[in-house]
């Protein structure tokens, strides 16, 4: 071993895992983690830190792992991130920290995400929990939404001594971490639940079953319920459809519906009442993380699954690891293909999907080469299920019921980047609700920034 290649991480066999909902990646053990940590050069000017949206002191925590002091590694990470077991699993490391790692120039980048995950999992297994230390500063803050943005903001404020209540619309906390990202990638009972409990251990209260804008308004929180400030971390949960004929047929679902049935309602588990239409031949339209998650869920429920994406492999927005895992498990990729029509049988069920082949044209504004239709290349895929995964946008429920809260053309809340302050005094926002669908770590970063903004606003 010359240090050029990373220590491989143990995973469930593709053929085995394609039929179960257990976690795919098994993670490092201490020996493996220490060996991988040994590959870190502890650079004077660490590029990885610049690549991390919350600037975790990566060489510092890796050095602790190298020396076998996992508790110290965990404490170091915790200074920056409240959800390390989650980030270690779902961050797109290949385009963030690991993309900048010097080791990556000639060989493999250090497996930063897997090391972060190792330290966080170790802490959970040893029952190391953050402690409630701060004494109350007498300020009360309402946080709307319990996704990564809300959890992080709430945790930071509680650490500073604020009394924080999170209001969550669903019956379960966690946002996308609970209803979107599947069990096989992010175990709920162990990992997600435990990181939420860590936030609660800081004194944060969570009120589920409360839809702000309906059960209570932002104004009522401020004026009647005595909160001094409000943070909106309501995410970008509204699914988009294509607007093609046949989209309301039976057997066409949004990825959100399909994933929510499986993850939040646990339809994959016999003991739960909620049904899911697994399908026998399924097309998932889209190429992001959400599409990969829906595809791999359908596969585990027993279907043959095709990813239908209008650009080529290089443009797939999903994390590299997810695409790799999906292929290993037997998901078929129909790239440069775009649906034009859903074919429906006489009972209202999907029987196929008409598609057209695409080719890549000139780069568009985003720099990606835009796909153009190849005339006359239409063909029909026979299917019984279509899952639309075309992206999501913020829900207007809060903006439309709160006076003075501005949104932009994409329905995102307008908020200052440095403080999270919205156009309404005392109201802050961050995460997908502001940026549109993005990533866990960016939402966490925004939650943290807004917490600082809120503390400043409250004068504490």
């Amino acid at each position: 071993m010359n240090g050029m290649t990373r220590i491989p991480v143990r995973e469930q066999e593709p053929r085995v895992r394609a039929t179960n909902f257990e976690e795919v990646c098994l993670g490092y053990n201490q020996e493996e983690a220490m060996a991988e940590a040994d590959r870190c050069l502890n650079c004077k000017n660490p590029k990885c830190v610049e690549g991390c949206p919350v600037n975790i002191d990566i060489p510092a925590f890796i050095t602790e792992i190298k020396q076998g002091d996992i508790k110290a590694a965990y404490d170091k990470i915790s200074e920056y991130s409240a959800l390390p077991a989650i980030c270690g699993r779902v961050c797109p490391q290949e385009s963030q920290c690991e993309a900048r790692c010097v080791r990556g120039i000639k060989g493999d980048a250090v497996s930063i995400g897997k090391l972060e995950r190792f330290a966080a999992d170790w802490a959970r297994e040893q029952d190391v929990r953050p402690e409630k230390t701060a004494k109350s500063n007498g300020k009360r803050v309402a946080v709307i939404g319990s996704g990564p943005a809300g959890l992080t903001c709430a945790g930071e404020l509680a650490k500073a001594g604020c009394e924080v209540t999170i209001f969550e619309a669903l019956h379960e906390a966690g946002g996308v971490l609970s209803y979107g990202i599947p069990e096989f990638r992010l175990p709920k009972k162990t990992v997600v639940r435990s990181e939420i409990e860590n936030v609660m251990a800081l004194g944060v209260k969570i009120e589920t079953n409360c839809v702000v804008g309906r059960s209570v308004t932002v104004e009522e929180l401020l004026e009647k319920e005595g909160f001094d400030a409000v943070f909106i971390g309501s995410g970008a949960g509204l699914p988009r459809f294509m607007g093609i004929p046949g989209e309301n047929a039976n057997g066409v679902f949004s990825a959100n519906e399909y994933l929510t049935r499986s993850n939040l309602m646990k339809a994959f588990d016999e003991a739960y009442d909620t049904p899911i239409h697994a399908g026998t031949k399924v097309a998932v339209v889209g190429g992001g993380n959400v599409a990969m998650d829906a595809a791999r869920t359908a596969l585990r429920l027993g279907a043959e699954v095709h990813i239908v994406y209008r650009r080529s492999e290089a443009e797939l927005p999903a994390r590299a690891e997810e695409v790799h895992h999906a292929k290993e498990e037997g998901i078929l990729f129909d790239l440069l293909t775009n649906p034009t029509k859903i074919l429906v049988d006489e009972n209202g069920w999907v029987k196929g999907m008409e598609c057209i082949r695409m080719e890549l044209g000139e780069p568009d504004a985003s720099g990606r080469r835009s796909p153009v239709e190849i005339p006359g290349s239409e063909f029909v895929m026979e299917l019984d299920t279509v899952i639309m995964s075309l992206g999501t946008s913020p829900n207007p429920l809060i903006s439309s019921t709160t006076e003075g809260l501005e949104t932009n053309r994409r329905r995102c809340l307008v908020a200052k980047e440095e403080t999270g302050a919205t156009t309404k005094p005392g109201v802050f926002a961050g995460g997908d609700a502001v940026t549109g669908a993005a990533t866990v770590i960016l939402a966490m970063g925004a939650g943290k920034t807004a917490a600082k903004g809120i503390l400043e606003y409250l004068g504490v």
């Binding site: 619309a169 059960s215 509204l238 699914p239 459809f241 929510t260 016999e270 739960y272 049904p275 829900n395």
Partner: protein, 295 residues
């Protein structure tokens, strides 16, 4: 946890419950609904708000025990709890946006089918508080399935009962009863129809002919009830709308009922695992749950 403070059997398999739920009771309005999840493994079941008491902080729901989850719900007794109870969801009834003066000038008719009588009741009651007394047709297959008749009589100007088998009141369905009322010289400016899809469809076909604006309350398959999943989508006036946030009430003359009826059968062919466990052979554990209110 949300405590059941009262339970009443209204008819065979039709239950009324008062549930302690402060936030819903404080902000609920006629036309809105709640989602109930009885325990860890239960489904999320949308039910129209049938009444609310802002002082006691209770909300009344009425449901028919037809599928796996609603049957288990029906077994709960006073003093026991629902794990989750969220709302109010959806838009308040269009009528709540009009002034009492405007309402008092209107001749309104409600058409309630089966369990649909329950969501009609708070609207008729609310109208009465605005000084407007509406008429109401309550329809059911037979006498035993007529619910809330006495309560309705106290709020409405006239209550007409129609049964398919003639066991009580008008012999015939609600559409025939409406025809009969019109033939007898009744006139209406606006109709609100709430009941099974097939009933609403035929009421709308008739009222379109008669030129009477008609509001219907849709109750499709739902999960979150906040606009997140799209399970509740319908075609209204050629456009896709989400019943949970854009509705549940829509202009009945614009709703594509045939599509809605097909969508309701979505989980019927599925092997209702939970249902099998409950030995129910006749229906899937699907939309029945969601439209328990409207069967």
């Amino acid at each position: 946890m949300f405590q059941i403070t009262k339970k009443r059997v209204l008819a065979n398999q039709i239950y009324l419950m008062d549930v302690k739920a402060g936030r819903v009771a404080r902000s609920g309005q006629p036309g809105q609904f709640v989602i109930v999840k009885m325990d860890e493994r239960g489904e999320r079941i949308p039910l129209t708000i049938c009444d609310y008491d802002r002082e006691q902080e209770t909300v009344t729901i009425v449901f028919q025990a037809v599928g796996a989850s609603t049957r288990r719900m029906a077994e709960l007794e006073e003093g026991e709890y629902f794990q989750d109870f969220v709302g109010p969801l959806g838009q308040p009834s269009e009528l709540t946006k009009e002034s009492s003066e405007a309402l008092q000038k209107k001749k309104l008719l409600f058409i309630a089918g089966g369990v649909g009588t329950a969501p009609v009741y708070p609207q008729v009651k609310w109208l009465r508080e605005q000084g407007c007394r509406a008429d109401c047709i309550i329809g059911a297959r037979n006498e035993a399935l007529i619910i809330l008749e006495e309560e309705m009589k106290q709020q409405a100007a006239h209550v007409y009962v129609a049964t398919d088998d003639g066991s009580r009141g008008f012999h015939g369905n609600v559409t025939e009863c409406l025809k009969d009322l019109m033939a007898k010289g009744n006139e209406y400016d606006q109709i609100v129809a709430i009941g099974p899809l097939i009933m609403m469809k035929f009421v709308c076909l008739l009222t379109k002919e008669l030129g009477i604006p008609t509001i219907v309350s849709m109750n499709p398959i739902m999960i979150d009830g906040t606009g997140m999943c799209g399970a509740c989508r319908l075609t209204v006036g050629g456009e896709t709308r989400f019943a949970c946030v854009d509705g549940p009430e829509f202009d009945g003359h614009l709703v594509d009922f045939d599509e809605a009826m097909k969508r309701q059968t979505m989980y019927r062919t599925e092997e209702g695992r939970a249902l099998l466990q409950l030995q129910d052979q006749q229906s899937g554990k699907e939309h029945h749950e969601s439209c328990g209110c409207h069967q």
